[in-house]
């Protein structure tokens, strides 16, 4: 029952998106993600999708890889659109079958609301696929720099974020190993009543917690041994530097968002 979270998995390639300054990239991705909430018309939707597909092409990440990383969220969106389809009552009635009533407004909501969110999901996935966790941390660090100036642990928060990305796959592997072990000992993870299954989760969580603590201990030893002392004295192998292409990316994104709003 091996499962893997595809979140935060960098895909090494040489593309414009990979080379952008992570700060610019995060800003653009956030702008695109927020802008989808302005989408209300088919023209806007088409425009948003065209932009998203252009980005996928620019990223040089294989389409299959992008699809794999958005699959879980798309599945959730499908459920959401089904709810929209069944619950929204507006416009003309297209079908009335006992308790089920489907209206034109419902169909519209089901299609547009999910499709526009897919654009946001693609933007987020591309950000994670084209940016290494270290770069993300650096961008996060830069965003939190005002906090550090106020004496709050901005840099440390960014480091925690980066370690979280690093340990998600490790802990996921361990969780599946623990689940296997419990299954082999007759634990009722995949069968039995809901209460039985819920009870079977407890041993997994305890074992996983114990293992997280072990990792935390080891990690603190490793950070000390490698002279990690917080933000102050650290240098960067690839210091962040906004270049022409980064400003252009920001300008293009701003133009895109403006266009999207105007189209509406």
């Amino acid at each position: 029952m091996a499962f893997r979270l595809s979140m935060g998995q960098y895909w090494p390639a040489r593309s414009l998106l990979h080379r952008l300054d992570p700060r610019a990239k995060v800003a653009c991705a956030l702008a695109i993600m927020v802008s989808v909430f302005f989408v209300h018309t088919p023209v806007q939707l088409a425009f948003g999708w065209a932009a998203a597909l252009c980005l996928v092409a620019l990223s040089r990440v294989p389409v299959g890889k992008v699809l794999a990383s958005i699959r879980p969220v798309v599945f959730m969106l499908l459920v959401l659109s089904l709810c929209n389809l069944l619950l929204t009552r507006s416009g003309s009635v297209l079908l009335a079958l006992g308790p089920v009533t489907i209206t034109s407004g419902g169909v519209w909501a089901a299609v547009v609301f999910s499709l526009r969110l897919v654009v946001a999901v693609i933007a987020a996935a591309l950000l994670l696929l084209t940016t290494t966790p270290t770069q993300l941390t650096d961008a996060f660090d830069a965003a939190l720099a005002p906090l550090s100036r106020l004496g709050l642990p901005g840099h440390e928060l960014a480091m925690v974020f980066s370690l979280m990305l690093r340990f998600i796959p490790t802990l996921a592997d361990e969780a599946s190993a623990i689940m296997d072990a419990q299954t082999a000992r007759g634990g009722a993870l995949a069968e039995g009543s809901l209460v039985r299954r819920a009870r079977a989760v407890v041993p997994i969580i305890v074992a996983l917690l114990a293992s997280s603590l072990r990792h935390a201990n080891g990690l603190s030893r490793a950070l000390d041994a490698r002279c990690y002392e917080g933000g102050g004295t650290r240098s960067h192998w690839h210091p962040l530097q906004m270049q022409g292409k980064d400003w252009i990316a920001l300008a293009v994104t701003a133009a895109y968002v403006g266009m999207l709003v105007v189209l509406g």
Binding site: A181, A184, L219, S235, W237
Partner: protein
């Protein structure tokens, strides 16, 4: 920012120790449960020296490593690291500690805990970044150190997708990129296979060549032979110290401390006790030379010496019929391809093969945690394809995963062991009986109410195994049961497994050790997802298979390698057999 961490040869000429501990004592815990981790330890390490630290679990080895790395300040004594007096009579000098730490690297057991980013090269850069080095210097160091550990083609990879040995090499590169004058390795090979350990040993030898001071802590006696000086710890005290030859001459003391001698030393000792007058040594080449120099006598190979233990063939415990299995990931690689074999009830079986050969997958299939894509697996008469029967199967097959102690969860040992039997729906009385029996088998009687997390490492593993034994399986499947244990733990668990086997349980174990495989009744060799060989150890480990085994990343058991090198007619699987063969040769008339 000063760059003290650049490599210098300061101090190498004037005999000034690079690390010096004097009467160091370090205690853990509170007044009531005080543990003395280091007890009046005095140690001076010269620049460029290669030191190996041995000791059973809990002897204070890791604490010593932390003190030498400047990560722990002892309670008493004085410590000087790289010429900085970090701990003197006036207490701890934190600034001196900070400066000293910049020149000392540490690599420890679990590579997963030492890698802090998700890209190999960025992880190597992490240390130099912390030192505040300029960007171009970091780039130079990253590529130099990745090349040194032969990982340059993995620079862009995600460490979590690498093998354990590769991860550990990345961790070493990360430590080396800080260009430490002293590198401390705390059981770097404990979680690795033979090949992974060999890679690390090679890197250590190169570092020593290059003049880095190396301190290596290990459970593998053979690795201590490479050191200039061996230190043996027991209960926080240095009990033996000297060259490998000096230290391993104290065989009885070592075994009392839960350690053992390297193979060559054991052989030399046994031969001398059998009246063969060889000079005692722990060096393989020396002993080999001496042995090949004497005993020119040739004797006809003795026939019929095979001591095949009778296998009561009552039925098949496992049968695999043209089994294939692929992973569900992007690669779609075959993990097993057309594997067929059968295992008789009550047999002890070893599955060998290098990392990635499909061993662990095979084990998961046998335990019905996965179902083969093609072919059929029948375990205890139950086809693993039948979903309804799988639950019943879990009562027949006990599965001990790698590092089973990581799955402990309950508040007490008894509760943890009772988890399986309770899931089987047994009565409270039966559960109690089975737990008592299982705890008796592994020798944990009296620990029922202790928290499993308070047990020692070896005991935790025994507790986890007891949890499987309490389900009274007919077939016990173990994935690397001895990995990461100290010699005493390895010996103890081997005896327990023999005992369980004597009770009629079929034992299937995955192992990296040819020594363990030679002691099984059947050996299954996997190579690149295929079944390479199956047979009795004597059939599998034969001189004619040497090349085949080598290509599969394996080898012959050590006694057999000796016999081949010495031109013996016999093919001894154990040291006892090798000694017999040598004694026989000695007695044979010379010069025929």
């Amino acid at each position: 920012m000063p760059h003290e961490a650049t490599v210098t040869t300061v101090g190498r000429h004037d005999g000034q120790p690079i690390v010096s501990l004097s009467h160091v004592t370090l205690r853990y815990g509170d007044e009531a449960h005080e543990v003395v981790a280091l007890d009046d330890v005095t140690l001076a390490v010269q620049p460029g020296e290669r030191i190996c630290v041995l000791g059973a679990n809990g002897s204070g080895k890791s604490t010593l490593a932390s003190v030498v790395c400047g990560l722990l300040a002892p309670d008493e004594g004085t410590v000087s690291l790289l010429g900085e007096d970090v701990l003197g009579p006036h207490g701890v000098d934190f600034e001196a500690y900070r400066r000293a730490r910049r020149g000392i690297g540490l690599v420890f057991q679990n590579p997963d805990d030492q890698i802090v980013t998700s890209i190999v090269e960025e992880d190597v850069a992490f240390g130099p970044e912390n030192l505040g080095l300029p960007s171009d210097e970091i780039g130079r160091r990253v590529s130099r150190q990745l090349r040194r550990v032969a990982m340059e083609q993995y620079a862009q990879h995600d460490p979590s997708r690498l093998s354990g040995g590769q991860k550990q090499r990345v961790a070493i590169a990360g430590a080396l990129a800080m260009e430490p004058q002293v590198l401390v390795l705390d059981e770097p090979g404990a979680l690795l296979d033979v090949r992974g350990r060999r890679g690390i040993r090679r890197v250590m030898a190169e570092l020593h060549e290059a003049g880095t001071t190396v301190m290596h802590i290990t459970h593998f006696m053979e690795e201590a032979l490479d050191a200039d000086r061996v230190i043996v710890l027991d209960h926080g005290r240095i009990v033996l110290e000297g060259s490998p030859q000096d230290v391993f001459a104290h065989g009885d003391e070592l075994s009392a401390l839960g350690l053992e001698m390297p193979f060559a030393a054991q052989l030399a000792t046994t031969l001398r006790s059998r009246g063969i007058d060889v000079a005692w040594t722990c060096d393989k080449d020396t002993l080999m030379r001496e042995l090949s120099g004497r005993g020119q006598g040739t004797i006809a190979p003795r026939m019929g010496t095979e001591v095949e233990r009778d296998i009561p063939s009552t039925g098949q415990a496992v049968s695999c019929d043209h089994v294939a299995y692929s992973y569900q990931d992007d690669t779609g690689r075959r993990a097993l391809d057309d594997v067929s074999f059968a295992i008789d009830e009550g047999t002890s079986v070893a599955i060998v093969g290098q990392t990635g050969s499909g061993k662990s997958t095979l084990v998961r299939l046998l335990c019905a945690l996965e179902v083969p894509d093609l072919g059929r697996i029948v375990v205890s008469g139950i086809d693993t394809h039948a979903r309804r029967d799988r639950r019943r199967l879990h009562g027949h097959v006990g599965y001990v995963m790698q590092h089973p102690e990581r799955q402990l969860f309950a508040e007490t040992v008894l509760e943890d062991v009772a988890y399986g039997p309770r899931n089987m729906g047994l009565s409270a009385e039966q559960v109690r009986e089975r737990c008592a029996h299982a705890l008796g088998l592994v020798g944990l009687v009296g620990k029922e109410d202790a928290s499993p997390f308070q047990l020692s490492g070896g005991q935790q593993r025994l507790c986890a195994i007891a949890g499987i034994l309490a389900m009274e399986p007919d077939i016990l499947v173990l994935d690397e049961p001895l990995a990461g244990l100290d010699p005493r733990g390895r010996r103890q668990l081997s005896l327990i497994l023999d005992d369980i086997h004597d009770h009629g349980v079929t034992i299937i174990r995955v192992t990296h050790s040819m020594h363990d495989a030679a002691r099984a009744q059947q050996v299954i060799v996997l190579s690149q997802a295929h079944l390479l060989m199956q047979g009795a150890p004597r059939e599998v480990f034969s001189a004619s298979h040497e090349a085949l085994l080598h290509d599969a990343g394996l080898g012959l058991p050590e006694p057999m390698q000796w016999a081949l090198a010495l031109g013996l007619a016999e093919a001894p699987l154990t040291m006892e057999e090798l000694v017999e063969a040598l004694v026989l040769r000695e007695e044979a008339p010379h010069g025929i």
